[in-house]
């Protein structure tokens, strides 16, 4: 029966599309996890019945500390090395990139654990990764997961990840987290901290002492600030921050400055978010807080756009016919113009007759369009190819092939179909 075949055929199509698209994904340099998400094609929601279970739901693992989801299995995607990767390498004194140290952290039980490098992060040639800045010091009291997260962040983001690594170190040194194998507990705690900070952010500008996170020791906090300041100095040539009155959030973006020295390097696209207190001193912010600020700003921008009426929901937006009726009404009510020749906009009003004709044509009153719209909504449709269409008087005979038929909420596939109907 053609209905029973549908699941298998669709499953095959999905697998085929995924396979043939893999090359395109690689060429586009897109994370392969998006490809795995494609596998979750929501056929069942359209068909109102589930497909065979093995075709479904390949759950993508995401890690709370991971800015970007990783593909669950080690496939496809070699780490793309930016052409300017050298700018992220802190040269060691002898000019050679330092080899990646194999990390042997000692956990609380005194056992030596080898940390397995992340797939795709292995560097056979002495570990010359793109962001090989410094060897990461082993974190005391850290669980292997924390070590690994810190190492991963360091590898992926180099200097920029310093704040996040500090946060992980801070969490590791909290007494509540001292036990090993309490990873879930740690993650929950981190998430709770994030939420707390976001709530504080929403509540208004933070007093400076609040910016010091409870999980950070003061030394680490200073270190984080030093990193940020260093980045700022690199970007802006040590230009001093100007004192401001009152709490003030300043967003600096390297892109805004006009560039005259050729193609940009990656440093140019790094934005800096700084917060100043009343005395013009800079308040150090952790990554989460900065993220929150950026999010707030983007939301404000979005609201502004919506205020312009550009992103109204479809139902509220005016349709062409409504608009024309409005034009007609205003044209009818407006008196003649006294202030000289009109602009382009006014010409439209002058062409009122044409609009009137069009508005008649645009009225969706004829029954045919209605019926077809209904059909699409109900989804009773057969998509196929025709071999032969014959007509004798009002009798029609058709031979169709390779079709998909959707009717009464069910789907059928067929190789050949014969239809007879009279008009």
């Amino acid at each position: 029966m053609s209905n029973a075949q549908v699941g298998n055929v669709y499953q095959q199509i999905i697998a085929d599309v995924i396979e043939s698209s893999r090359v395109d994904f690689e060429e586009g340099g897109v994370d392969a996890s998006a490809l795995d998400e494609l596998r979750q094609v929501r056929v069942h929601s359209h068909l109102q019945r589930p497909l065979p279970s093995n075709s479904l739901l390949h759950v993508v693992a995401t890690f709370p500390w991971d800015p970007k989801p990783e593909p669950p299995q080690a496939i496809v995607q070699p780490p793309t090395v930016p052409s300017n990767a050298g700018s992220y390498m802190n040269n060691s004194p002898n000019g050679q990139p330092q080899p990646m140290p194999q990390m042997h952290p000692i956990n609380n039980h005194g056992n030596v654990t080898r940390i397995k490098p992340d797939p795709g992060m292995e560097n056979p040639a002495g570990g010359q990764g793109p962001y090989q800045s410094q060897p990461l010091p082993a974190i005391p009291n850290a669980t292997p997961a924390q070590q690994r997260a810190a190492q991963h962040l360091q590898n992926s983001y180099g200097q920029r990840a310093a704040a996040s690594i500090n946060a992980i170190q801070g969490a590791a040194q909290q007494p509540g987290n001292a036990q090993p194998n309490m990873q879930q507990h740690m993650q929950m705690q981190q998430q709770r901290q994030m939420q707390m900070q976001q709530q504080q952010l929403r509540g208004g500008p933070m007093p400076p002492q609040m910016a010091a996170r409870p999980s950070m020791s003061s030394e680490q906090y200073k270190q984080a600030i030093a990193t940020q300041t260093q980045q700022k100095n690199q970007l802006h040539g040590g230009q001093s921050a100007q004192p401001q009155n009152g709490p003030h959030i300043k967003v600096e973006n390297g892109l805004n400055a006009a560039q005259t020295d050729g193609a940009g390097d990656e440093d140019e696209v790094v934005g800096l978010v700084k917060q100043f207190n009343e005395n013009g001193e800079e308040i150090g912010m952790a990554r989460v807080e900065i993220d929150g600020l950026i999010r707030q700003k983007i939301e404000v921008m979005g609201q502004k756009m919506e205020g312009g009426g550009l992103m109204l929901p479809l139902k509220q937006a005016s349709t062409p016919s409504k608009r024309q009726r409005k034009v007609a009404r205003s044209a009818a009510s407006d008196l003649a113009q006294h202030d000289g020749p009109g602009s382009d906009d006014d010409k439209k009003d002058d062409d009122f007759d044409e609009d009137a004709i069009n508005s008649d044509l645009d009225d969706p009153d004829d029954g045919l369009n209605d019926e077809e719209d209904d059909d699409e909504g109900m989804g009773h449709i057969m998509l196929c190819m025709y071999d032969k269409v014959q007509r004798v008087k009002n009798k029609w005979k058709c031979v169709m092939k390779d079709g998909v038929l959707t009717v009464n909420g069910k789907e059928y596939v067929f190789h050949k179909a014969q239809g007879e109907y009279e008009w």
Binding site: M1, S2, N3, Q5, V9, I13, I14, D16, V17, S20, S21, D24, F25, G28, V30, A34, E37, L38, Q40, V41, R42, V43, H46, L47, E372, D375, G379, H380, I381, M382, L383, C384, M385, Y386, D387, V389, W396, C398, M400, K401, G403, V404, L405, T406, V407, N408, K410, E411, Y412, V413, F414, H415, K416, A417, Q418, G419, E420, Y421, E422, W423
Partner: protein
């Protein structure tokens, strides 16, 4: 014509599986996970996959009868609107009855199409 340069009908994108793929790709694009160009390539792959799968894997036959309400032939595409239609599958005793059905049908003898 070489197989890799061949174009396939985009007709089947309106099927449930095509719509599901399109929705998913839309989501990925709006999440900035993929570029629209990549989505177009995937849809082109889908056109090829479903055409080949229907041609190679499906053997079922079907007959249907009804009253033709509207017919249209434009750009080599037949569109029928059939009312009170009865479908008979070759190995299903119970016919499927629908109030109306729309048929969109492209020419199978399209130049360059595999036959």
């Amino acid at each position: 014509m070489a197989a890799n340069t061949q174009a396939f009908y985009e007709l089947y994108r309106r099927s449930s599986i095509g719509m599901a793929l399109t929705d998913t790709l839309d989501d990925l694009i709006s999440d900035r996970r993929i570029e629209p160009q990549l989505a177009m390539k995937i849809l082109a792959n889908f056109d090829r996959s479903i055409t080949e799968a229907l041609a190679d894997k499906v053997k079922a036959r079907l007959t249907f009868k009804g009253h033709l309400d509207t017919y249209r032939f434009c750009d080599e595409v037949w569109t029928f609107l059939i009312k009170d239609v009865t479908f008979k599958m070759d190995n299903q005793t119970q016919p499927v009855i629908a109030e109306k059905i729309r048929i969109v049908s492209c020419n199978s003898k399209r130049p360059g199409d595999p036959q």
